[in-house]
């Protein structure tokens, strides 16, 4: 399923996609965007999961995988929640402003 040459293509195209996705970001969103992207980088939780599943009874691997999973989920869950907290403040304000005008 996994071939190195294909994986390199995936890496290349993924990077180009990342460059294209962030074209124009208003400064307002720099902080939330950074923290949102940061949460996504916690995707290593999948690697940690696989490590635990394939540990084959090796206690060191189980422990390391569990630690890695903990760190990654701290990043993912904390990151998404804190981003949501920030963005909630913006949307609340926009809604109220809209309400005033109408």
């Amino acid at each position: 399923m996994f071939s190195f040459s294909e994986a390199l293509w995936v890496l290349l195209l993924g990077s180009l996609l990342g460059l294209e996705l962030i074209g124009k970001v208003p400064p307002t969103l720099h902080t939330p965007l950074m923290s949102g992207a940061n949460a996504i980088s916690g995707i290593t939780m999948l690697a940690a999961l696989t490590l635990i599943i394939k540990a084959g009874g090796n206690n060191y691997l189980l422990l390391m995988g569990s630690l890695a999973l903990g760190f990654a989920l701290f990043n993912v869950i904390g990151g998404f929640l804190v981003t949501d907290r920030m963005l909630a403040m913006f949307s609340r304000k926009t809604n109220r402003a809209r309400g005033k005008r109408s």
Partner: protein, 478 residues
Amino acid sequence: MISAATFKYFIELFAVLLLALGIKGLSKVSSARKANRLASVAMALAAVGVLVSSLGGGGISPESWVWIIIGSGVGGLLGALTAQRVPMTAMPETVALFNGCGGMSSLLVAIGVALFPLEGSDALEKSFIESISIIISVFVGAITFSGSIVAMAKLQGWLSTPHWMQSKLRHGINIVFVVMSLVAAFELYRGGNTGLWLLVISSAFLGIGVTMPIGGADMPVVISLLNSYSGVAAAAAGFVMKSQLLIVAGAMVGAAGLILTQVMCKGMNRSLLSVLFGGALGVATSQEGNASNEYVNITSCTVEECALTMEAAERVVVVPGYGLAVAQAQHTLREVTRVLEAGGIEVSYAIHPVAGRMPGHMNVLLAEADVPYDQLKEMDVINPDFPATDVVLVLGANDVVNPQAKNDPTSPLYGMPVLDVQEARTVFVVKRGMSAGYSGIKNDLFELQNTSMVFGDAKKVLGDLLVELKELGVSGKG
């Protein structure tokens, strides 16, 4: 009936699509919140994909389940608690902490794979590609972790930069760590565990050595860059664990983080290289140029005078900056502007792209203090309005209101976009003392005739101002 592997394949494909849409949506105010949720759903889906495909494949042993539940439970709970408890002013260090943990995770995975054989793979013998993937994952993961933790500690004020770290010596030390890492990488490739540990240590020290000398307003750039690194670390872990989803997601975050870093640098008129290698430049110039940095003709005034001028104004623009965020005075500021508004005075806020402790941070802080979103004006929008403004209140901002950036081609600030506050009739600058801004450059604004300094901590001055304005009966006017 589809096989577990096919199921995982389609789930991953779908997750990548959602992640890309999520990152895209995060760059627009209207869709940002939805996009963030979309991305979190994608992550959850991907995790389910891994679990389900393993159930269908070799199955998951009970002890694996125990460790999965312990790890995810503890990590997830701590993450949720941190996210809810942390104050909005502490956002930069929080992002740094989360980021460091992501790097740590990639590092641990790579160490695990380097030390022990996984089920289904033969022995410890590694192919060239596998070794390189492990080396990159360890290297980038360790730098991300140590660098982020140093960044967090510095932003929290737990750490300050020792003086020798700002000398040229640090480049030498960092080069030593780079060489050590290279040697260690080679040793690791040849199959020695010593190489692995040496690589972990030397790259962790490299992360500390590179981050330590950088300070002040450059810190957010470093965090953004480290955020990009954690994406690279995730992609490298993807090569180690043979997961295309990890590679795509890591690559997207890595590239997007790099672009964001560059956007931030542009807002401060700095190049990425000068942030990374010239961290001490600002300090050096301010020390050398002390003589020419003396201020003459400074007018200072009391809070009372300031309040009197404001009472008579029709249009007031507030320029909040780093100092306001540090003094945590945004709520007091909101109370002051409420009183002004009640008195029929038009109030708006001029937000420089890099105001606050992180670009966009000021918007978050003011939103938290209940400032209506439509009163926040971006630089390009508000600049033409300054000539028609009676009073500008500069709170803890310095370099972003320095007219040198427009008028003096010899100034290091020249070319940086600034707010044209000097065009207003009266400018009050609230500042703790006459110290230079982050750039270490003298601010010509302070010497102008229409500028008055109000010395004091932003929070204290605003508190006094509030009292004075209430005594003048401003709120009763309208």
